[in-house]
Amino acid sequence: MTEKKKHSVFIEGPITSAFIADSISKHSKKTTIGGHDIFLGQVRNDIIDNKTVVAIDYSTYNEMAEQKLHEIREAAFANYNLVCMHIYHSLGTVKAGEICLFVFVSSIHRKDAFDACHEIVEQIKADVPIWGKEIFEDASHVWKENKS
């Protein structure tokens, strides 16, 4: 049984540990699952030119991002034997130490979950139009750029 149901990827503000715990518990009825792999992206307090990042303000090109995420999702189901997968990404302000990305992949055996999760995270970083504005303590900012 594969689940390809679409839900909204974007969440306003940080992804809470309660939300993550709730997502995990929702899978207890899916008893064909043998393993989950979870990736959590956390906002880091980088120091840039002696100033410390206190938060990232995320924005997106929503229509294009939804389309890209749909393609990533379809490719993951086509290439790996997955039971289900979920992607959540924050928009707006996420403070250092808070979670901004939650990728949750479930499969019958662990290898598919490990491999798919890794690939999905890399694709989100490289191909989805999301931008992070790094905010410093003094409210000035720089625009983040993902490293490959």
Binding site: L101, I130, W131, N146
Partner: protein, 77 residues
């Protein structure tokens, strides 16, 4: 001939607006040229263009009512 231009991230700071109307550009080369004349700071920027949500490489012809997005380097996740 009118296209709808969307600017994101740092590029929206340079254009000062997230959405603009651009008149009389037949292709993406003409659009880039027009944008650089209007916003000289863009010369120093590395950005991609998406025409109707699809990233395009090289010169691409534009049609009336197309939506073109200026995409700075992505930084999600």
């Amino acid at each position: 001939m009118e296209i709808n231009l969307l600017a994101f991230g740092q590029l929206a700071e340079i254009t000062g607006k997230a959405e603009l109307r651009i008149l009389d550009v037949k292709n993406t080369n003409e659009l880039n040229q027009k944008l650089i004349e209007q916003y000289p700071k863009l010369v120093a920027f590395n950005y991609l263009l998406a025409v109707n949500k699809k990233i395009v490489q090289g010169n691409t012809s534009l049609n009336d009512k197309d939506t073109v997005a200026l995409l700075p380097p992505f930084s999600g996740g």
